[in-house]
Symmetry: C2
Subunit: 351 residues, 2 copies
């Protein structure tokens, strides 16, 4: 309690009035985000490697190989910068950052089996290199080591952080379960789709910012506000991702044109179009949308009904909510600007 008060007064003394507008111009924000994520990576990559000594030697090599495949370390960056925004040293939150990255990567390893994806980041996925059985237990080991790292030692802050991580992991799994259930359906309401997005993407981003606040010793109001920032950022992120999954440039996204359409994935643009009564045709309904021409027609239908624009607007709205959440509590100015920069980078990525 004493520590929380101390942190709060430090923050109050050093922070400045925060408006929803970021203090930095857009080009500066992009450069800041790139710097922050590079810094997060430089701190987190060696810590992740050290953690792998807890894994069976039968699994450690393949897991290290998977982790070395890259990734932007957005979640780790959010943990570290959130802690700094609460007036704490980023180092106090390193184990939170690696726990979040480990849970994220556990979900990738298992999702790749479920989606039969043979490539990720232009490299073979765990199951396609090492078999499904190996990938199942390697994913299990990744999820478990996250809790080992976070609970060593099991201090009150780390216990609270681990409880939040367990809740977020369960929400993420629920989102994945919904996603799988949706692929067997032909219509999904927008609110069902949002429930899936909030679980599958929002929960872990919300948890990242909460973990930074908890491990940084912040009070409840700050934990809540940073959590709300992560939650809305997660939805904004997914909205952009869903637009890219249909309209993205394959040379940038690394996925074939219209891959989400061919897979019959119930993404935000699809559910927005369905809510407006738009029909995507019988081939889409039966999951037989395979030819480039079919894909082009469905894409044009979605474009002309405004589904692309509405999805981007939904993303913008949640980005606005995310920034508004940051304005609700006193935070240190420099890391707060870095959070805004990460948010901007995340929703602008690859376009």
């Amino acid at each position: 309690m004493a520590r929380q008060q101390c942190v709060s007064s430090r923050v109050a003394a050093r922070s400045q009035a925060l408006s929803v507008e970021a203090s930095l111009a857009a080009p500066d924000r992009a450069a800041v985000a790139v710097d922050v994520l590079a810094r997060a990576r430089s701190v987190v990559a060696p810590a992740l490697e050290a953690t792998l000594t807890r894994l069976s030697p039968e699994l450690a090599d393949s897991v290290a190989e998977h982790l070395s495949g890259g990734g932007k370390h957005v979640r780790a960056g959010l943990v570290l910068v959130s802690a700094a925004a609460c007036g704490a040293d980023e180092r106090s939150a390193i184990d939170g950052a690696i726990a979040i990255e480990l849970v994220h990567n556990f979900s990738l390893v298992h999702d790749d089996i479920i989606d039969s994806d043979e490539e990720r980041r232009h490299r073979p996925t765990m199951w396609s290199s090492h078999g499904i059985s190996h990938a199942i237990i390697a994913g299990d080991a990744l999820a478990t080591v996250a809790f080992q790292a976070l609970l060593d030692p099991p201090t009150p802050e780390r216990a609270r952080a681990a409880a939040l991580l367990a809740d977020a992991t369960q929400s993420m799994i629920s989102g994945q379960a919904l996603d799988m259930a949706f692929e067997r359906r032909n219509t999904v309401t927008l609110s069902e789709c949002m429930e899936m997005v909030v679980g599958k993407t929002g929960a872990l981003l919300m948890c990242a910012t909460q973990l930074g606040a908890v491990l940084g010793g912040a009070g409840e109001a700050t934990i809540d506000a940073l959590g709300a920032f992560g939650h809305h950022l997660g939805i904004a992120f997914q909205a952009i991702d869903d637009v890219l999954g249909i309209w993205g440039d394959p040379s940038v996204t690394g996925k074939p044109v219209g891959s989400d359409l061919r897979r019959h994935k119930m993404t935000l643009p699809i559910c927005i179009a369905q809510a407006a009564g738009v029909e995507l045709g019988s081939r889409w309904r039966t999951g037989d949308l395979v030819s480039d021409e079919d894909v082009a027609v469905a894409t044009a239908t979605l474009e002309s009904c405004g589904a692309r624009r509405s999805t981007l607007e939904l993303g913008e709205r949640h980005l606005g909510e995310a920034l508004a959440a940051l304005a609700r509590v006193p935070l240190l100015r420099e890391p707060r600007d870095e959070l805004v920069a990460i948010a901007d980078y995340v929703v602008a990525r690859d376009r």
Copy 2:
């Protein structure tokens, strides 16, 4: 600290001098074990069901169906009775008991995929009823809800318990990884096999007794002694299980005659025979041991070289070590006798 001292003095005052010999006669012990496990089940089954509200509705039904398949609740019983042996109310350890059962069942769901087992407890396994993708995330949800249950609320005792559970889960996964690696090999040393057994079976039984002690507010010496009891009991349990996997009566074990031999599993009797230079023949080596006659010959070879007897002796030795560990610290007499009864039941089961 004050609580630990208080519990210790309560125990010291009420416990009686403990010898390695149990205070109850063998037939009484069997009846006590059956009673204790029925009591554990009556407490744990509704608590488990209540916990499933944390799961996605898309997963909860299949998980409830899996959990209703039975199981002896040995691990849950060990948690509750260990807490009682430390002078605590068994109710203080209920969330530890359900967390252990959830992790155990997570491992069963994923192991059934890995082993391609279509039946467990005479019912279809999760993957054979609901598909591999569903079973992967249902297992993930089971593992995650264990940590949610244990960390709600995240008190210091529960945080310590969750850290122990994470370590035990990782050891269990490492044991499973070794087991999978061994199936691709033709020789495994006894010490390698023991490493696998200690991880795959011993870790969770050790964790069960530790969790009871931790949640029951015991001191370090008692946590260690009860942990050692669980560890050795796990090895004794596996030794009996390995004997039953080769010599067990199919009508009792529910597995075909010689199933472990047909599967080329590197169990304790096999590794003991190999350490003595015994050859099981080229068909066993190549995993082509399919005919009943082949299995009968290999079984006779193992019997005549003393592998069955040596495995049972190894089990007896570890059962002795388990009981000796109980004698090292003051424990309440009645629950201590119940622990001895569970140990006896576990190593005598199904014979």
